[in-house]
Assembly symmetry: C2
Homo-oligomer: 633 residues x 2
């Protein structure tokens, strides 16, 4: 069972063209990723552990175990919060063990083992509240969804060397699922995909092929009417078409994206290329028509759905934090399967923007929904658009924590006998006999310096991703200019007989840039946004001059974009702002907001200085208006 | 009990400055309103009557009456469908009695009377399914909401001379509500406003002041935490602020709009000017920032809510048909209270667009949701954006029917001792001693000819609304030019000693026009729409040349808008199309839909002829793409 310690570890026999590294072999020492890991460990995870008691997950399991009195609390998928929290703690244990981590895992594994039925079934809601409905309402029960998160937590704990008690529980449940759904003829499929990718991971860890077979059977069974309509339509649960026939991501975004991970995982382990092909086809459509600038996915609050092609409303974008996480999972698997940098590009965009924005600077408040605009007079909706400490449906916070704890696993891979670096952060990367030191102020600074610290003899390739946004990239090796032109997969590949002490410098172009939406993106027409390097910027009210309303701003396409380095902006911390000369445009209101005269003819405008802040740092101040997309003057 | 036969009939002592006319005194003989009434009578109402059995409303009441076996079907507000259907039939009886109408009313009144509890309570869902929860979960029970629709149906039947059996049932229930909520100290308020306006109407009919007192108490009690949170937040049910403090329409649109009718009705009968004032303040905000071009209201699917100011997405506009109806009710009351034409302007916009579009040309299919755009690859959502014959939650179809049946009541009023005409349609209008004949092809044609057929001696004013959209209006009296300049309320007032045979001609400017959105309307930026007279136009795929995709169209601001009269367009019937030279613009797709180059630099464009059809006639053909708002080239 010795395995690379990280999420998504294809077997040696798999079709993976790149191999993940252990998360403890990739140490991140600074930058936003490093900061995020520190805050996650010091603030988010302690909060999460507290919530496992307070919000009911552990008490519910004690009810199921017959160890406590009381009533079930929360949603029917309440167990999954605990599983994701356990996974976060397991990765944290792998990064840097601390006494509480192993103890929490052991304690939870104990409760779970005692709550588990003799036949292996485990779900506190159904055991306590609806024992007669077990596997009878899979369209909304989340029983397999919860099982999937249990499996992922158990795999993480085992790979992290944090004991195998959890794995024993997971295997008993997985064996039960195999008995019921693979051999027992039960036709049901969980309405919420997740168990598919988890079963493949459990197969990878244990070598038990029936887990892979069940995962494949569930992937194959979808879209054939086996997920009953829960009342939200068959598209909601991706049961409208078999996976090879669906050409566009549709329905509940998180469900579709978890399903895609399962599909690519099934490809990786079975070699069925038609599975990869259909997933890539949907990826291309999704990237081109349903992905927000931040990498966020899912445009609709209603049904938590993707929405139609080019339906990209900045204000009403749902962009669930869990969808950003699921997108990273999927893109990572596509990267392992194909080695194509476009997936790493999207992971970068997602990690630095949609995903990073979901957590407050202090790590104790979270967004469930991540729009690209908030109006000042926001009155509708449950939360008035601010982050919250926790949620009744708390799927996002522990999901965020598990990804932050395992971030090291997503930075680099072993590829072609060498090393490929996909995401840039300061620290060290070890892959077998290679150790690479990375020094950089990225993404605040575009210079990334690599020093080879250990190397095997002989030539091996060092592949550095050249992000598609970098308009002018240079590379020097030992101070000498080298070809920075990326290959067809988006990587500059430097093949040398590297020796300890060798240095490489990558210089990415961080000139701030205006970006424009595709003309079919109706909700963004006539607007532009600012990006710098991998960071999407936004205009928050807090940074604008007195009397200048964010809603009145108009950008001047030719205006200079000036960079302002800030060591410690109040409430935000280290940042780089972008300042530009813009206009404040006011149009009178009254009567209907429709006129025969064009708005330009009715408005007055004044030149002002407007200031943008990285999107991931928004909502750390006064909670007023924010816009990513600004009209062009 | 002799009263004007129509909806919303203020007492003689009320503050109304205009007086409604009986719906049978306003005969509509043609045009879209006349066509709508014919189709309503011949197709929609028969379908509705059938659905009263099929969808469960009447069977549920038979269960409550102990006259049948079976189980309750549908929603807890299922009774309200029957009440709205009864109201439609009552108005239809008033317009032109037919044997089935009275019989249906009597039969339904019988079942209701037998289902009604001795104490007056009546609600089939709570009596059959949840007898122990009566008035215990008003935040979502809809018990008073259903009562309100019963009262309105009973008032309609009584005013229409269709018997008083229904009124007896209604009064027993109203007396019970008075006993429980006015005198009994029950603090609850229904989460869905509606009973307030209905109780005022019941007071107007019966003179029973406790009904008015209860209505006022419910209006006053809202926004004070007496509507418990049903889980969708206190804004959803307008319980976040007392009515005088709320400055913007918020939450569930239909609830807010019905509440506003109750508020203005309470003002009309109590004279409390602060009620009118707060409602007018919200109207001004709503008109300026939350009203779609069609008059539709409610921008969000989620919570069926208004959304923020200037949140006006054409694709995701919810614009529930019931909200358009509720808006007409409210605006009509504001018109009676103030005599201001801006309310009649909005009624016209709503009736000809948002409301008219809700029903198919053949009268047997309905929209619940009325967006201003449908994409071709529409896969999300329950109904793929097509009209349907009926709905599980069927609030809209019978609501549409009752408004169509009572349309005559919304065309003209007695005002200042004379007659005010608010909406133009061919037919005759009788107000006491005055009869006016109206000849017009409106809104296809801008000429409206009036002939006085009966008139009392002496001078009296004939007030003709001059719509705000008419850029050049002329009036002739007996062939002589008269002042067409509207007064401060938007009416050209012609005061004469009118004699039978006198003629007036009003000529409104139907030149098609481009209209532009306010710059804060983010979702509409860079687009324009076409209007002609009161009609909003849209571009449906069916009318475009082969190979020209509606999504590619771009309008040329200077291009001529040519009018094409069509006697009978396939599937649509009589219409006037508007044709213009436009562009088909194509931008390549692939990768993310965001580029450093502006879309203009990447797109190719070709000149094409684009054709628009009145919005209310859309979706009567092949169900492909539609857009009201088109980008400007």
């Amino acid at each position: 069972m010795e395995q690379v310690c990280g999420p998504a570890v294809p077997t040696a026999e798999s079709r993976a063209v790149q191999r993940p590294l252990a998360i403890h072999d990739v140490e991140i020492t600074g930058g936003p990723f490093g900061l995020r890991q520190r805050v996650n460990r010091e603030a988010s995870i302690p909060l999460g552990l507290e919530q496992m008691e307070r919000a009911g997950s552990l008490p519910n399991l004690r009810l199921a175990a017959g160890e406590a009195d009381g009533t079930f609390r929360g949603y029917r998928f309440q167990d999954s919060d605990l599983y994701k929290q356990l996974e976060a703690v397991a990765w944290e244990h792998a990064r840097r063990p601390a006494p509480g981590y192993r103890e929490f895992i052991d304690r939870a594994a104990g409760v779970l083992a005692r709550a588990q039925r003799p036949d292996g079934y485990l779900n506190s809601h159904y055991q306590v509240v609806k024992p007669d409905r077990i596997f009878a309402e899979l369209e909304y029960s989340h029983e397999m969804y919860c099982a999937g998160h249990l499996f992922q937590a158990a795999v993480a704990a085992a790979r992290a060397g944090a004991g195998t008690d959890l794995l024993a529980v997971a295997r008993r449940f997985a064996d039960h699922l195999v008995a019921v759904f693979l051999h027992g003829g039960h036709p049901g499929i969980d309405g919420h995909a997740e168990v598919e990718t988890a079963l493949v991971e459990l197969y990878r860890l244990t070598g038990e092929r029936s887990y892979l077979e069940l995962a494949t059977a569930l992937v194959e069974g979808r879209g054939r009417g086996r997920v009953r309509d829960s009342g939200l339509g068959v598209v909601y649960s991706q049961d409208h078409l078999p996976v090879r026939e669906a050409t566009t991501a549709a329905g509940h975004a998180v469900r579709q994206l978890y399903l895609e991970s399962g599909i690519v995982d099934a490809y990786l382990e079975t070699g069925d290329a038609s599975l990869l092909e259909c997933s890539v086809r949907r990826w291309e459509d999704l990237a081109a028509t349903k992905t927000h600038l931040t990498g966020g996915m899912g445009s609709r609050h209603s049904g938590e759905a993707f929405g139609d092609r080019y339906e990209l409303p900045p204000d009403r974008a749902y962009n669930e934090s869990c969808a950003a996480i699921a997108s990273v999972h999927w893109n990572w698997r596509l990267l392992l399967a194909t080695g194509h940098g476009r997936y790493a590009d999207l992971i970068e965009r997602t990690l630095h923007n949609a995903f990073a924005a979901a957590t407050s600077a202090d790590g104790v408040r979270f967004f469930y929904v991540n729009p690209l605009q908030r109006r000042d007079d926001h009155v509708e909706g449950a939360y008035a658009g601010r982050r919250r400490e926790w949620f009744a449906c708390a799927c996002c916070p522990p999901n965020i924590m598990r990804l932050v704890s395992s971030l090291g696993g997503y930075l680099a891979t072993e590829a072609g006998g060498g090393l490929a670096v996909h995401q840039y952060a300061p620290g060290t990367i070890t892959s077998g006999p290679v150790t690479l030191e990375v020094e950089t102020g990225y993404p605040w600074d575009g210079r990334v310096a690599f020093t080879v610290r250990r190397a095997p003899g002989g030539r091996w390739p060092l592949a550095l991703r050249v992000p598609a946004w970098s308009a002018a990239t240079t590379i020097t090796v030992a101070g000498e200019s080298a070809a920075a032109e990326p290959d067809e997969r988006g990587y500059a590949v430097l093949e040398r007989a590297w020796r300890p002490g060798d240095t490489v410098e990558l210089e990415l172009d961080l000139t701030p840039r205006l970006v424009h939406p595709h003309r079919r993106a109706d909700a963004l027409r006539g607007c532009a946004a600012i990006e710098r390097g991998p960071l999407v910027y936004c205009f928050e009210q807090a940074d604008q001059p007195a009397g200048v309303d964010v809603a009145d701003l108009a950008l001047s396409p030719g205006a200079e974009l000036r960079v302002l380095d800030k060591d410690d902006l109040d409430g935000v911390g280290r940042t780089v702002l972008v300042e530009t000369t813009a206009y404040a445009v006011r149009q009178p209101a009254g009567g209907l907001p429709y006129t025969v005269e064009p708005p330009e003819a009715l408005a007055t405008s004044a030149r002002v200085t407007a200031t943008a802040i990285p999107y991931h740092q928004w909502d750390n101040r006064d909670g007023r208006a924010m816009r990513v997309w600004i009209p062009l003057a």
